[in-house]
């Protein structure tokens, strides 16, 4: 049986390959999980922004990280054959971090998806974090601070010790431009973000 191909870091120079818009090239995603042209009746759900910074073990910004998002639509459907239902959008987003280590994802809030125990999970975004200095990408999840009851019942959040659960919950800030969820990713340290062996 063939064995898994080893992972390697994306290195510092992935941007023109994977997030190449500043180089005048089109990438496969640009920080918007939903296309700007989709709106109103064409796309059910609440428009949200998820933003935050990626920080290293010395709390310094990681300015050469890449974030990927994979999520369900507002009805909790994934655009994938294993789901089998027709989702209302593609569900994938990708962006690099900027000079402050910040990223920004424009999307809609996902609906509940059945968990491994068949009970509904709290709404969440699936996240992969890549960076120079990371031989493997890291998996985490973004949950939402205004879903208190669903979060308390969520099977995956309950796998995490109560002292670390908050690292997976994005904090809602209401702004003039709409709801913004704040989610910092701490790669290492006292308040290290929970990462999964997904």
């Amino acid at each position: 049986m063939p064995k898994q191909t080893p992972s390697q870091t994306v290195g510092p120079y992935f941007a023109y390959g994977l997030t190449p818009q500043p180089y005048g090239r089109e990438g496969i995603a640009d920080g918007r999980v939903v296309d700007r042209t989709l709106s109103g009746a064409a796309l059910a759900g609440h428009r949200i922004t998820v933003t935050g910074r990626v920080l290293d073990g010395a709390k310094a910004p990681v300015i050469d990280a890449m974030i990927e998002i994979w999520q369900a639509d507002a009805q909790g459907r994934y655009a994938h054959p294993a789901d089998g239902r027709e989702a209302s959008f593609h569900g994938f987003g990708r962006t690099g971090t900027d000079g402050e280590g910040a990223f920004r994802i424009e999307t809609i809030k996902p609906g509940p998806v059945a968990g491994a125990d068949a009970r509904p999970q709290a709404p969440h975004l699936n996240v992969a974090v890549f960076a120079r200095g990371m031989p493997n990408h890291a998996y985490t999840r973004v949950y939402f601070s205004d879903e208190t009851a669903a979060n308390e019942a969520d099977m995956v959040l309950n796998l995490v010790g109560p002292d670390r659960r908050n690292t997976l919950v994005a904090m809602l800030e209401k702004t003039a431009g709409g709801p913004v969820y704040r989610f910092d990713i701490r790669l290492q340290g006292e308040d290290e973000t929970v990462f999964f062996d997904a």
């Binding site: 898994q4 191909t5 994938f92 120079r132």
Partner: protein, 236 residues
């Protein structure tokens, strides 16, 4: 294949650890707390599906997709291989992205300060889809080695960066392909950070069959992604 079979976990005997002391930038960037095993739900069994619409006609040919007014400089090569899962089954119609330095070891990236020339006719980024048998094929220029600041006299071996999706978000893989016989592999902490028994999987094979007369040398690089945990007895 049953669509809702969980995937095998990441095989930590195949992948480098998050912290490789000789690769200095891992020291503050690698998670130190244990990863939490995640039972697979639809969130893990699904992942982005890309169609041929994301791939342009020249995207697989790096000797042409950056041309301004002449051919790029350097040694033309063909890089091809098969993407499969751990049962050896092909992973068809999956997106493969790649990026690399030019023949002089210089990246187009705006942060790359290496005092080697840029090639105005070489961009260094490309993508393609695997075919029904899981095969991919790129035409490119052999990338040069380049220095980096990890330690005194540190040089990266010749390498091409690869990014793959496979059928789900958990089969995602970013890796690097190396070249056979490269003397720098022995000194590269990124390559040496891989468990010894798994390292050579990242070294491509020279192939005279893939080589095209008067055109380009050929290299083969197969890629194995995580597969379904249980091998189905009946396949249709």
């Amino acid at each position: 294949m049953r669509p809702n079979t969980p995937y095998t976990p990441r095989d930590w005997d195949s992948h480098p650890p998050y912290i490789v002391p000789d690769y200095r930038s891992t020291l503050l960037r690698g998670p130190k707390k244990p990863l939490i095993p995640l039972p697979h739900s639809l969130s893990e069994l699904t992942g982005p599906v890309f169609g041929h619409d994301v791939v342009g006609p020249l995207d697989h040919d790096l000797t042409r997709n950056g041309v301004v007014n002449a051919e790029p400089l350097g040694e033309r090569i063909i890089v091809t291989g098969k993407v499969m899962d751990e049962a050896g089954r092909p992973v068809p119609h999956t997106l493969v992205e790649l990026w690399q330095a030019n023949a002089a070891g210089r990246y187009v990236h705006r942060w790359d300060q290496h005092a080697a020339p840029l090639d105005p006719n070489f961009f260094g980024g490309g993508r393609t889809m695997t075919d029904a048998e899981g095969r991919y094929r790129f035409i490119t220029i052999k990338p040069g080695a380049y220095p980096w600041g990890n330690h005194h006299n540190a040089w990266r071996p010749n390498h091409i960066h690869f990014s793959l999706f496979g059928p789900s978000f958990v089969t995602r893989l970013v890796t690097q392909m190396y070249f056979p016989g490269d003397p720098l592999l022995a000194f590269d902490p990124i390559y040496q950070g891989i468990p010894e028994s798994a390292r050579e999987r990242l070294v491509s094979r020279f192939s005279l069959d893939v080589t095209e007369p008067m055109m380009a040398l050929g290299y083969e690089f197969d890629i194995v992604l995580r597969g379904p945990r249980a091998t189905p007895i009946d396949e249709d």
